[in-house]
Symmetry: C2
Subunit: 328 residues, 2 copies
């Protein structure tokens, strides 16, 4: 029997989950939920209903796992606990500082309803967190570094778009090559924010806008840009669409540590991602963890989990025997 | 209370475990077991007894986890099931083809005794297996590649040493740079054995030995060298000791796959290791999984597991709350 998947929220991430479900023969998409008028939403899968978010409880017994595809700022803090009262749920909540509070809310809801939830699934938080954990546990003495990019930061792109005179913008986060190679060489450098990443901005300005002011406002924006070396390129709308239409991302987690009685041996562990589509990759991780949630729930696991709690084998459609034989 | 560790077998790997235990404040080494005369074995830790392997049962109630540090060819197939009758055990059994049979034997023993065993812990099998599993589960459509090296293969070095006229030898397994970069570019090439790795041999021959014959015997040796492009360098014993005294290794697992409704987006996941000391790194992985075995056992988990079954959080000395807050 297939794992029956629901998608709650149908933007880039929701579409990514829909595509990922197609790639996993043990899963079946049974409904997409939206806050828009359902008849206005066209999905990629024929024969699957698009329902209004308000009608979600009508599908309570027809969905094994609900994958939440809303945003972390305002959607998920409300939606994940609310839906965990009725469904097994997966989300990609990625506001690192608020994960403990989100965990508690979702855990309370899922524990009370007897459902299984896995939160903060994706690549960071998610696969990068896992790799920080494995690497730190193995190399007890050492330093862990996370680099992001080269890739598009949606939050930083949005921040530029809010500046007066800006029509559109795309911001790339870029690791500093010298920092990256020092870390890969096992030098364990101490790096400031500025030394780790630069920010590259492609901006379409209104005709006649004060470009010097826009550039200054970007470069001095607190939290977003002030602590970084930032480059601003003004380009045309055509060029933005043509050359900067994608949502690539990636990055790496590197741990460098020493072993031996005199710490005489150095080891470097690196996990890296090069992603053409950030939302589709995140969606693929969510979908694999939906399988894990389904299995955990069938075994009686109740409450909230994170990627750190889930046995790796639960992600795979293969049996434990097959995994030991083919892959271990 | 510390996790009380026993080391069974005291070669390079056993010494590596001893060093790793020093780096983990929640662990304590309580005994080292050897088949040699115990008084002839000097260990690095003061005050810890070296006991004969025959006396292992005298420590039955004083050891939480026994880490087995013997070889996969003849030691572990016998020792792990035998010790799992009395102890929680960890081993690094690495003969891939025999893992299912070894698993069954250890599982039978541990299930009967109510103990917890984790087998085939290390980097391959081990961390590489985990990464194959995670990457395949996330990118359902794609190809997985494992490259080993540049590093010393003990088995291939031994095979050369058995040739007549050879005094000593060191063999390096080396990934072919062109293959590696095609895989990293997401080209999903089909690669033969010869196209993936080359073998580089540093050989010390007896004075007057027939070097051409030795080189021919190496290059045509079935299984070990015949399917590879092999380079043989004859060097002096001094040079071998000076330049090839270490046991470095490493390698990478790369999965490249596509997502999107028309498979229009490519993603590359890479996990790589650069290790100054193969046995000390393997020992560090074993030690982290000893912590997991201890916890699993305390929770009532009985029988044999592999790295694929163990929730990542069990490897860390930190609490689940701390991990969510600091690392997720």
């Amino acid at each position: 029997m297939s794992i029956r998947i629901g998608i709650y929220g149908y933007g880039n991430l929701g579409r990514g989950v829909e595509c990922a479900v197609h790639q996993n023969p043990d899963m079946e998409l049974v409904a997409v939920f939206t806050r828009r008028a359902p008849e206005s939403v066209r999905i990629l899968t024929e024969g699957v209903p698009v329902l209004h978010a308000d009608d979600v409880l009508s599908m309570k017994d027809k969905i094994d796992v609900m994958i939440l595809c809303g945003g972390s700022a305002t959607d998920l803090p409300v939606q994940t606990p609310a839906l965990a009262k009725h469904f097994n749920v997966i989300d990609s909540f990625d506001t690192h500082a608020n994960i403990p509070a989100h965990f508690e809310r979702v855990n309370d809801a899922a524990s009370a309803s007897g459902k299984t939830a896995i939160i903060s699934v994706g690549w960071d938080p998610g696969m990068f967190s896992l790799n920080r954990l494995y690497a730190q546990s193995i190399l007890a003495e050492g330093e862990t570094y996370t680099f992001w990019g080269r890739g598009v930061s949606q939050g930083h792109s949005d921040a530029i778009r809010r500046i007066e005179g800006v029509l559109d913008a795309k911001q790339y986060t870029v690791p500093v090559p010298e920092a990256l190679s020092a870390v890969r060489n096992g030098e364990n450098p101490t790096l400031t924010t500025r030394e780790k990443h630069t920010r590259e901005c492609f901006v379409v300005a209104e005709e006649g806008a004060d470009l010097a002011r826009i550039e200054r406002e970007i470069k001095t924006m607190p939290n977003y840009f002030a602590d970084y070396d930032t480059t601003v390129h003004f380009i045309s709308m055509d060029e933005l669409r043509e050359k900067h239409g994608g949502i690539p991302h990636g990055g790496c987690v590197i741990r460098s540590g020493k072993t031996g009685i005199a710490k005489e041996h150095r080891h470097v562990i690196e996990y890296s991602l090069k992603l053409d589509s950030n939302p589709e990759f995140t969606a693929s991780v969510l979908t694999a963890y939906a399988r894990a949630a389904y299995r955990l729930h069938n075994e009686g696991a109740v409450g909230c989990k994170t990627v750190l709690d889930v046995p790796p084998a639960y992600l795979s459609p293969k049996s434990a025997e097959a995994l030991r034989k083919e892959l271990l």
